[in-house]
Subunit: 480 residues, 2 copies
């Protein structure tokens, strides 16, 4: 991957050719003009054309061919239907066992981990800078390590979160916020504060895999609603369910969905907020990737259309800044006071040292710059991986076109059993997230999720090629 050059010439050339490829004017397999030929024809420097072709390659639109220059890549369609198929019987134990299998696989030495949704590598986190900031906080206030933080967490960081909120349409106060142990604990507390064991909770299908064991461990029933890769949660289905009654809470990820990567259009968010306020059913909005939207200005959270505090927001700094610090936050809306007590008797406050360190980083004003870099980087990485998938995976594969973040959801031809693919890939040293963990049933047994948050080096590309080769063989065996 390269950084953009100062000149804009290569960019407009790349954009022009990308349009031609996407529109079909340059069909799959077309040989691109030679570097020298195009440079002469357009009166551009050779370096400019090279940069433009590299960008097309990074975006997965063209492939280098030995001695033949570049050709237009195979196309990777995007799924255009809600991914829900016929409801399947709940097979929670199988889902549980699969998840344990993934966790164990991730601990293996020398594994190429395409499953883990945690960036790895210096380019994704300002680790050294954050370490320096933390050391400064330690020096200036060694006493912060000598007592417990107040129950809702470091005031300094709460203030920063309030100040940043409007970027996502969030207008909140420090009193409504509590720091949590990662966004995961925020989800857990938000669920516990509005549900009783035995209650039904409406969730998206697919949903973040940890939602399922969390609901199960709290004695809650999951009702899965169809969720479209671009439009998000099916609001007609949700409204029907709310009108029928009996739903204690809704969990959704309207902005940069995990695993789908899409964002609900803003008018849909408005309708979602209106629905939960009308029916007075709490919505737990997971916004953990919302700051990693590729396009600016960022689209607002559903929370920005909340009227009476029925929407709780769960987010944090693990995906963007400080994964090891485990600092999440929860805007509890109308439930904020009870959430603070619940946090206190569930796990106590978050570390003041770590909260102050993140606050100091934010106060120094470097976070926005860092986020802008990440948005470009992940946009490039996701495009590049889509290109690799198009190149290596069997015909009939589709992959989502994320609006942010670093996750890709891949649908293989339906004859392929991803459980089998998982075991074969593991035997070759590659682990990915199998679709089975994203639903209670067998709904996504031909799907998988890939994380694009590490260096896209040869090792990574080789791992994608391996999974693609194995999938193709399974497809062939199935007579596809």
């Amino acid at each position: 991957m390269h950084r953009p050059m100062a000149s804009n010439l290569y960019q407009s050339l790349a954009d022009e050719m990308a349009d031609a490829i996407r529109s079909g004017r340059l069909p799959v397999g077309t040989r691109l003009p030679s570097l020298r030929g195009l440079a002469t024809q357009r009166s551009l420097s050779l370096n400019t054309v090279i940069a433009a072709y590299r960008q097309l390659e990074d975006a997965g639109l063209v492939l280098p061919r030995p001695k033949a220059g570049f050709v237009v890549s195979p196309r990777l369609p995007e799924p255009t239907q809600s991914l829900r198929q016929a409801p399947s019987p709940p097979t929670a134990p199988a889902q549980h066992a699969m998840m344990a299998r993934v966790l164990a696989a991730q601990q293996q030495a020398d594994i190429v981990d395409l499953a883990f949704a945690g960036p790895r590598g210096k380019r994704f986190y300002p680790g050294a800078q954050l370490a320096r900031t933390t050391a400064q906080v330690l020096r200036r206030a060694a006493t912060t390590v000598e007592t417990y933080a107040r129950p809702n967490g470091a005031a300094r960081l709460l203030t920063q979160i309030v100040q940043r909120g409007p970027r996502l349409g969030l207008h909140t106060t420090t009193e409504r916020l509590v720091l949590t142990h990662g966004a995961m604990e925020a989800l857990q507390l938000a669920l516990r504060v509005v549900t009783q064991p035995g209650d039904a909770v409406a969730i998206e299908a697919p949903s973040y895999f940890n939602i399922y064991p969390l609901l199960r461990s709290l004695g809650l029933r999951a009702i899965e609603l169809p969720t479209h890769p671009r439009d998000g949660l099916d609001l007609d289905a949700l409204e029907a369910l709310l009108a029928a009654g009996g739903i204690a809470a809704i969990m959704a990820m309207p902005t940069v969905h995990n695993p789908l990567g899409g964002s609900m259009p803003v008018p849909n968010k408005q309708r979602l907020a209106a629905l939960v306020n009308h029916y007075q059913v709490p919505l737990i909005e997971d916004a953990v990737y919302a700051e990693l939207q590729f396009k600016e200005p960022l689209e607002p959270l559903a929370k920005s259309f909340d009227r009476d505090g029925w929407i709780m927001v769960c987010s944090g700094f693990s995906k963007t800044l400080a994964p090891d610090y485990r600092i999440g936050w929860l805007d509890g809306g109308r439930f904020a006071a009870d959430i603070q007590l619940l946090k206190f008797h569930s796990s106590g406050a978050e570390s003041r040292l770590l909260g102050d360190a993140v606050a100091a980083f934010l106060e120094a004003g470097n976070y926005e710059h860092h986020l802008r870099g990440l948005r470009r980087l992940y946009s490039d990485q996701v495009s590049h991986v889509r290109g690799l998938i198009a190149q290596h995976f069997p015909t009939g594969t589709s992959a989502t076109q994320p609006t942010g973040g670093f996750l890709l959801w891949v649908e293989l031809p339906p004859a392929i059993d991803v459980g089998e693919l998982f075991e074969q890939a593991l035997a070759e040293g590659v682990v990915f997230m199998p679709g089975q963990v994203y639903s209670r049933g067998a709904r996504y047994r031909h799907c998988l999720r890939l994380s694009c948050c590490q260096e896209l080096d040869e090792r990574f590309a080789g791992a994608i090629a391996t999974v693609g080769r194995l999938a193709s063989a399974l497809q062939t065996r199935a007579g596809g």
Copy 2:
């Protein structure tokens, strides 16, 4: 408070006089020999006699009287009965409201906080040293802040916990352990892994106040068992309950109980372990103060007599070393594998940076020395506060004689309503833990808990005197 002098002379003089006072040979109100007189009589230096008298004063055995030297303090009896009275109807909302009241009071400016069980002050935590160690860990491995820790926490710290275990009779492995967000999260996870909503859990009365809202939020029913200030949980009552069946788990604090301060005798711990193994009902053993036992060698945990892994141990470093780092740990016994998954989908791993920092402190070998100092210090502090209570509280007051830690449980004459006392004390700028939060019912409405983990300066002594004066007035009003 002073540090022991090199000489042993003052110590043997103090011990001799303490014996005479405790046995009654020197009755309450007796005037002690003058300093000069005793020095001459025993051929000791004046400083030695002063040091001995100071120690007696610190231990709450004697009081200075203006122009009259020292007199023997009023005696404070220890409660000798299990504190359980007739069962009262569950009044959980009142308990909940009281707890919210305490938390709010603790946030008030200029409050003297006798409620908070977190040491405050440089003498109780090696804060500066820990900050330096943390800075070293940051410098040597800035990359640790760049990725998530493995699900069960920093391996380096798990190894240290395993190595320290035998001091408390705990023989464990890193595979059985998981780091948690404070011991509080350890209790929460241990409960969740072995219970279903609706289950009944046997607990001690009184129990750590956070147990009650925790059980309630998980939909669990609390069955309170009588608990003796010296002997601990009533094992006959427990056995009857286990034989009757229907108990999903037991929570107990056999070593340095909160709030009582006592430790179950070792043979009782053996019987407790045998009972839970026989009936195959999990025991959640809270050991958070176990390393602060006053006497060495430390008495072993009930876990040390576990046979088949039915006992889980919850502990951490918040009371002894690093409150802000919020590092607890959980030995999951036979449930360890499920606990690791539960931790993963409840809140994710603990910070590797903080785990490594605590590990580095332990590896450097200073922890044992620090603990020995704390044991002496808290033993002195608790004795001193018992003395203050004897001096200021109404006749008929008793207070436990802790075997470790820094908590005192005080029983006032039964006519005193501690709810009223709480409000009056709050109006004068003092907050303590009212007995009501230690039971579902109104069982302990004449009791309170005091924390002895701050500097026992004039402000502190004044606060104790205030509570005593208010209690005496309430007692007088009640005709006592």
